[in-house]
Each structure stands twice: as C-alpha cells, then as structure tokens.
C-alpha cells in the first residue's frame, strides 16, 4: 500500500471546536505517522484566542479533540502530548527538569536567527514574550534552503510531538557545566527545523509557561472529556465508541464526563503519575474507567499530594467554622513539610530498607536529610512493614531543647548531603499518618483515629521524632493562649483541625477542615509599616508588560549614608499604581547602580537613582543571605529581609534619607519573639 508521507495542512483541518469533529477522519495525520507538532501549535494558537464567558469550556473542547486523535491513531504518543500541555516531562516527584534558563533560551534564539542579543532583549521588553519574538525572528531569516534545492527529494520533515519531547528529555539528561553548549545546540536545532508558529510554543515551553490560559487542571479535565468522548480501545481500530456524546446524548455524556473528571482527579492526588494513569485509561477502554482507582492507588514510594490548610484571618473565624464540633489545635512548625515513605524491604534489594522523603511539591528530598533517614532506619519497630507519614522537618537544638529558625536548613544542599557534614540536626514533628502495613484505607479514618495509630506506631524521642504539640480546645481564650504559646515556642502559629466529623485525609485539598492561624493574622508583630526607597525593578511580564513587575527596596544606613537592599516586592499594586510608578521611575533608570546602593547580588533588570519612597507592610523579618539591610549588625555577612511584603502607598512627602533606617529594622528584628527566643543559639554560631 502506498503510504501518504506528508501531513495534512492543519489550517485546513475541521475546526477543533466543531461538535462533529471526527478524531480519525478530521485528524491531520494518519496511524503510521507521528503526531505532527503543528497540531499542538495550532491548538495553542486557537486556545490563546479563546476569550469570554464560555472560553474555559471551549479550551477543554479543543484539547479534548487533540487528545482524541491520539487515543484513536497514536495512543503511544498521548503521554508526551499531554505532558507538553502541562509543561512537564514526567511525574513531579521524579524531578525531571530541562535545567534551561532564560539566558540559555535567549542565547539559542540569538544564535539561530542571527540577530543581536541586545535587539532580542529590546524586543522582549517591548512585546513581553520571548516566544513571540523568537517566532517573528524565525520568520525573518533567509536560510540557504531558499537559494539551493536539496539534492535528494525531501521526505516530510515536519516537527513532531515526539521529537520535541525527546529533545527536551535529552536536554534534561545532560548535566554539568559542559552541557550548556549541547543544550543550546539542541534548542537551536528545534528552532531551525520548526515553523515560526511552532517555535513560539517551543520557546514558551522552555520558559516554563505556554501562556495559553490552560492550567494543569484544565488540561486534566480535557483528558477526562477526551476519554468520555472516545474511550480507549486497545484491541480494536477504530475504537468501538468514537463519539459517546452523539451515541448516548447530551445528558449521559455530561454525567459521565463529570464522573470521570472526578475519578481522574482523585486518582492523581494519591498517585500523581500521569504516565501510568494515561496508560491505565487507554487500557481500561469502554465502560471500565471507574476501575481506574484499582490501578492508580496510594503506594509506598509514590508521593501523595499533601493536604493543605485554608488560611484564616482571626480566631473568631475558626470558632464560627468549628462551632459545636470537636477540633484540635496543633503547633504549626516553621520548617519543611515532609512526607516520609518507608518500606522495610526494598523490592530491588530485600536486605535494605527503602526510605524516601518528599516535599510539599512532591520533590524528592531524601538526599537532603540523611540524619532523618538514619534515625528512621534504626528506630522503626521491626513489626512495621511500611508506612507513609506526614510531618514537618524542623532544625532542632537538642542540647537546649529548642526549635531553631528554619533558615538554618536552607543552607543544606538538595543532593548528596553527607551525614558527617550535618551540623544542625533535624527533628521530625509528626502530625498524620496516611498508610500503614499495606492498609491504604487509613486516610478514610477520622483524624482522631489516625492520630492514635500514629502515636501507637511511633514512640517519641526528644529532638528526633516528636508529635506536633496539640490541644483539643473549645473556648476562644484557649486558642488565643495556645497561639501565643506556639509563638513563644518558635512556631509560625497554629493548625486547627476537625477531630472526628469530616476529618478524613483529603490529598491535595486546601480544606476548610484544616485551618491555619498565623501570627501576622493577629497583627501582633510588625504592626508598624516601613518606608522604603525603590532602587531597582524587574521588567513586567504578561499583564504587567510595559511596566515594572516587581521592585527592589532599600532602607537607609545613617552611619555609612548608604541604601541597603532589603526586599523585592510586587504585591499590593493596582494597575493604576504601576502606571504611575512607571512614569516616575522611568526617568530614574540607570544602567549601573548608584554608588550609594549597597547590594549583594544583582537580582533585578534595572537600577534606579534612589528617590521614590513607598510605604510597605510585611508579616515579619527574617535573616537573608541575599539582602544587605542591617548588614554587619547581626549575623556575619548576612542581612535582614521582609517576609510577605506588600505595597501600601506612595510617600511623596518623604525624602529617601527619611526612610526607615537600618538601626530601626535591626531593632524590630531583635524584638521579634522568635529571635529573642533564639538569641543564645545565634550567639553560638
């Protein structure tokens, strides 16, 4: 049979929003071909143009139709196709990243299109999107192919989804400083072999965001819709059901779509591995999709998306919320969320234990905490086969029985931490258990029951493994008192949780059954605002294109008569504020920093002559290696910075020299309770 080698033109394809879209007849490719990347670029383009009320549903429809073509014609490429739309290369917990920074992408584009770097940067500043600039540059190149004909008749060399994905993968695999050139070359090759409209989204992908207004949640919903329309059918081609909507009618379709959407989302929470999930969906086929949880379930070694808490503004909100039901308050430790997976026998090597620690974002942090791993491997009861627990990892001074500031842990590197080099030990503050001895229904138990199981399984040990301090409270005064205690004990505040009613563990949910109460919500600390000078800014992207995106602030050091950088902030501004700020600051832009500005490293796009003073509010003060405020007063070679800064108003009445001084900031920092508590240990280091 004669195979058709070239692809159909996507621009002549039936609209992806057409209700009668046929994933086989209307697809721009055939079964023997790879999925053309032009289909992805085309979909991105029309999604980007979707606006208005029903746009979210249209976006879903477009993506669903793209996925349907793959379900029918190229199931094997559905996984890379899906990952492209969510800008990832694999499950989050595997941490596969391209390691390509903005600088490298700009370099690749510069080299590939022959324009100067300054020119590219200028255009990016103007348009606000490197992808568009790259696409336009690509369109203006004259290559040798426009002069010379190829000797051999060309086979269709259209860019394919698979090639894009594999190139990204190969970029991700290359490590080390010498890899920069190779990575740049790979990007250039993609650039050269793609059409301008394709280049746009390849470059945006590399920058980490497609900017088409389709978040991961939407893409997942689109996948659900695609499988509702056209369930996978590995044994038959064409699949037995091509269009469920047409076959069973609108109502049945909508019901089923909602059901599948929920099933997929729940499965992803306890089993965040899209590769395996898509494989399962393809395999299950028609009418068996409800079996998905049987294939995608919680298991040791694969992190579960952790349950999160809703922030609250005050104690009375909590009382209102938990009126009449049993609840408990727990210390909210200032550390790193850790989900610990334990298996007594590693399936790959039964003589060893397998222990993993995952962060709140499902990153594998096992190598960061060898001290915690060692403790668990030596102290977990022999009778325990496996478990998943939720805890907070906190630096701890075992001699003085004190919690240390979490910043002391930020100096630990991500990988290859040697237990001999660990100076500051961590303590695990346990607060929940999700899985024990192959029982995966523990999350369905009440929090009270889970807490009992947790306490029965893990005995406490000072400074190594402790339970989060908790108090089952009912009265307003009790909570407030307990909150103050928590702050005295160097915690961030409290977590308030239901004990029995509605107290199952909901992976990935920001639930009202868990509320957090932090000290800054009570406005106890840092009630006073600061007046700070703007000394630099980043150019805005997206909505803020043409303005500044965020600003670098400094305080005034009266002794040295210099401005010390303190914090970068971009929240609290209205569009009007940004416009005005831009008008004023544009005049003050300088290429090199004013000599009075003292900074550690340049982390902004442009400098300003110190002139404009703004009023800023923040949650609290923290030690920072990046900023210079109060430098030399406290810790050796470290400054002070603000947490959660937000803009209040412009202070036209203040001169830059009248702004908050380093001395003021330092004394505010000193008076912060957490610091007062830890004074002794700070002096020790």
């Amino acid at each position: 049979m004669e195979l058709n080698l070239s692809y159909k033109d996507v621009s002549k394809m039936k609209s992806l929003t057409d209700k009668s879209f046929d994933p086989i007849k209307d697809a721009p490719y055939e079964r023997h071909q790879h999925i053309p990347f032009s289909l992805v670029a085309h979909a991105c383009q029309i999604i980007e143009e979707c606006k208005g009320e029903k746009s979210q549903d249209l976006v879903k429809e477009i993506l669903a139709n793209v996925f349907r073509t793959a379900i029918c014609l190229k199931p094997a490429e559905l996984i890379p196709l899906f990952y492209f739309f969510i800008c990832r290369l694999g499950p989050e917990y595997e941490g596969i990243e391209t390691g390509v920074g903005n600088e490298m992408v700009v370099n690749a584009v510069t080299q590939a299109c022959g324009k100067s770097k300054t020119k590219i940067r200028e255009e990016v500043k103007k348009i606000g999107d490197l992808g568009t600039v790259a696409a336009e540059s690509k369109g203006s190149i004259k290559s040798l192919a426009s002069f010379f004909k190829p000797k051999t008749p060309k086979i269709d060399k259209s860019m394919t989804v698979l090639r894009v994905f594999e190139t990204f993968m190969s970029i991700a695999k290359r490590k080390g400083s010498s890899s920069v050139g190779d990575k740049t070359n790979s990007i250039m090759k993609l650039f050269t072999d793609s059409k301008p409209e394709e280049v746009k989204y390849i470059i945006r992908w590399l920058e980490g965001h497609l900017k088409i207004g389709a978040a991961e949640k939407t893409v997942v919903s689109a996948l659900a819709r695609a499988f509702t329309y056209t369930p996978g059918d590995p044994k038959n081609f064409p699949p037995s059901i091509l269009n469920y909507r047409k076959k069973k009618g609108e109502t049945r379709f909508n019901e089923r779509e909602a059901e599948l959407d929920e099933t997929i989302k729940e499965a992803v929470c306890v089993f965040p591995n899209y590769d395996k999930m898509i494989e399962a969906l393809l395999e299950l086929g028609d009418s068996h999709v409800e079996e998905l949880p049987k294939k995608c379930y919680m298991r040791v070694g694969i992190p579960v998306k952790p349950m999160l808490a809703k922030p609250t503004t005050g104690v009375n909100v909590i009382l209102k919320r938990f009126d009449g039901i049993k609840f408990t308050c727990e210390y909210k430790y200032d550390g790193f969320r850790g989900q610990i997976h334990y298996q007594k026998q590693d399936p790959d090597d039964p003589t060893k234990k397998k222990i993993g620690i995952f962060s709140r974002n499902l990153e594998n942090m096992t190598e960061t905490y060898p001290d915690a791993i060692q403790y668990l491997s030596e102290n977990v009861d022999e009778k325990v086969d496996n478990f998943i627990i939720d805890c907070e990892i906190v630096p701890y001074d075992i001699r003085n029985k004190k919690i240390l500031p979490f910043q002391l842990l930020t100096t630990r590197s991500r990988k290859n931490v040697d237990i001999k080099d660990v100076e500051i030990q961590v303590c695990l503050f346990l607060f929940d258990i999700l899985y024990l001895n192959d029982q995966n229904d523990i999350i369905k138990k009440t929090f009270k029951e889970r807490r009992d199981i947790m306490k029965a399984t893990f005995p406490e040990e000072e400074g190594k493994l402790m339970y989060a301090v908790s108090k089952d409270a009912e009265k307003f005064e009790e909570i407030e008192e307990f909150l103050n205690d928590s702050i005295k004990d160097s915690c961030e505040g409290l977590m308030v949780k239901t004990l029995e009613e509605n107290s199952t563990y909901h992976p990935s949910k920001r639930s009202f059954n868990w509320l957090k109460l932090k000290k800054d919500y009570l406005e106890t600390s840092l009630g006073d605002s600061l007046d700070l000078v703007v000394v630099g800014a980043d150019y805005g992207k997206g909505k803020r294109t043409g303005f500044y995106g965020s600003f670098l602030f400094a305080c005034f050091d009266e002794d040295a008569e210099v401005f010390q950088t303190l914090v970068k902030a971009g929240t609290g501004f209205t569009d009007e504020d940004l416009k005005k700020m831009h008008e004023v600051l544009n005049e003050l832009e300088t290429t090199d920093p004013d000599p009075r500005i003292k900074y550690k490293e340049k982390n902004i796009d442009t400098w300003f002559t110190p002139k404009l003073v703004l009023e800023i509010k923040a949650a609290d003060l923290t030690i920072s290696p990046t900023y210079m405020a109060a430098h030399g007063r406290g810790e050796e070679d470290k400054g002070i910075s603000l947490r959660f800064p937000r803009f209040i108003r412009v202070r036209d009445d203040k001169k830059p020299e009248d702004c908050s001084t380093s001395d003021q900031i330092y004394s505010m920092y000193r008076s912060q309770q957490a610091v007062a508590q830890n004074d002794i240990c700070f002096d020790d280091y």
Binding site: Q111, C113, K119, K142, S143, L144, F148, P150, M188, T192
Partner: protein, 258 residues
C-alpha cells in the same frame, strides 16, 4: 576499503580547524576520485563545502563510495595529536564503525594510530552552485581576515556594496560607524594583488560572526576569493594547492529594522 595518505598531515588539521566552529557533526563522503564534505550550520544560514581530489594525495584508494559521519570536535582532538611535519593516513574498512587516523614521522621514528567512532548523521545535501556574474573579489587571505575581525569589533553586521572599481565594507555599531574601501592594485607579488570584477553591482548585509569563522581557513591559502550576487548567497573560497578547495556559503541578512 578506503585508504588515503597525505604527505603533509597539517593541511588536514587546518581544514578541520577551519570548520569546527561552524559545524559540529559532518558526513565525510569518500568517492573513488576524492574526498568531499558538505555541512550546514545549525541555523541553516551558512554552509561549508570541501573538495579534495585524489591527485593531491600521496596514495589514494577507494573501492566504493562511503559516508563517514564524524563529530568534528572529536576529530580535532585527534588531529592535535599529530605533529606538524607528520604525514597522515585516513583509513576505513568496508561498512566501518570507525575511522582510523595514522600519523607517521620517519625522521622521528614515530608511528601513531587512532580510531574515531563514527556516528549516524541525518543531513540533507544541497546542490550548491557557484556564482556567475555578480561581483568578484580576489585578495590576500590574511588581509581579508584582518578586515573582518576588526569590523566585528564594531558591529555584528557588515554591509557590502560593490561598484565597478570598488568594494566597500561598512559597519554601524553602538560606539560609532565606519567603512573599509578596497580598490584594485597591481602588486609585485600575487599576494599583493587585489582584483575586482563587477558585472553586477550588489548591496547586501551579512553577519560578521560567520565571516570571521570563515577566515579561520586563511592558513590554507594565501589568497581568498569572495563572490557576491543579489540572487545567491555570498561565497568565500580558499584554494588548497594541488588538492582542491574549501568554500563557504552565507545567506544575506535581512535587515534588523524590518
């Protein structure tokens, strides 16, 4: 079976050096009459084409045509291992997995043999043609190289304009602008001669990044030939005495202002 011996191995080293910045992986084509190579840079704006005739080799044997895919960076590493006065032999078996490179030096009694692994490269061959008509410039390669390098200090782009008697290279950069005009001279030696022939006047812009890369080949020939035409890419050609030629092609730049 393929085997070719070059009395002056250094020539081959210079060739490799002259293309290693422009291209990373290349297919070397072996035919019964010689060795050739054609490769484009990543952005498909520049192309290098090498032709070596069997006549220039001390010995040359090629039973049937073959293609050797080579990473130029690795090849250059091996070329550096040879001494400047060594002879060099290239050798490959039928359906080869590697290319053997032998350096010999009778005076020093040295014999060195290296293998370089071959790779599969998927490239397309363009049927390049020489410019006819247009404007032609022939001058000392060292002088041409010097002009290109110095202009590159000022700007990334050079505008080349030709007239009957003159070729003008002009640049505009952040620090200022300038131009170099070259007219025909009748020097005493061939190297001192500048010959300009202009059947068609051209006015085109090119990326100096590439032009300076091309001048890496200056060591192969004392003279360089530049030909320009409105309808075709720019060609920079270096003759390699008795052996063949190394030619570069470059597509003109579309103005940045567009």
């Amino acid at each position: 079976m393929f085997e070719a011996k070059l009395a002056e191995g250094i020539i081959f080293k210079k060739i490799v050096e002259a293309i290693k910045e422009l291209v990373s992986d290349v297919n070397i084509d072996i035919s019964p009459t010689g060795i050739s190579l054609q490769a484009m840079d990543n952005s498909h704006v520049a192309l290098v084409s090498l032709q070596l005739s069997m006549d220039g080799f001390e010995s040359f044997r090629s039973d049937k045509p073959m293609t050797l895919g080579i990473n130029i960076g690795n090849l250059f590493k091996i070329m550096k291992l040879g001494d400047n006065d060594d002879s060099m032999t290239l050798k490959a078996e039928e359906d080869p997995s590697h290319l053997t490179i032998i350096f010999e030096n009778e005076k020093k009694g040295r014999f060195a043999e290296f293998n370089i692994n071959l790779i599969n490269i998927d490239t397309e061959h363009l049927s390049v043609s020489d410019n006819e008509g247009g404007s032609q410039l022939s001058m000392a390669s060292g002088e041409f190289s010097k002009i290109m390098k110095e202009l590159y200090q000022i700007s990334e782009t050079v505008n080349i304009e030709t007239s009957q008697e003159l070729i003008q290279f002009s640049v505009e950069g952040d620090c200022g602008s300038g131009s170099v005009k070259i007219g025909p001279t009748e020097g005493e030696t061939r190297e001192e001669q500048v010959v300009i022939q202009s059947d068609e006047q051209v006015n085109l812009s090119f990326a100096l990044r590439y032009l300076t890369m091309f001048t890496k080949a200056s060591g192969l020939s004392s003279m360089v030939n530049v030909s320009l035409s409105t309808e075709a890419p720019l060609v920079v050609k270096y003759e390699i005495q008795n052996l063949g030629s190394l030619q570069y092609y470059l597509a003109p730049k579309i103005s940045d202002e567009e």
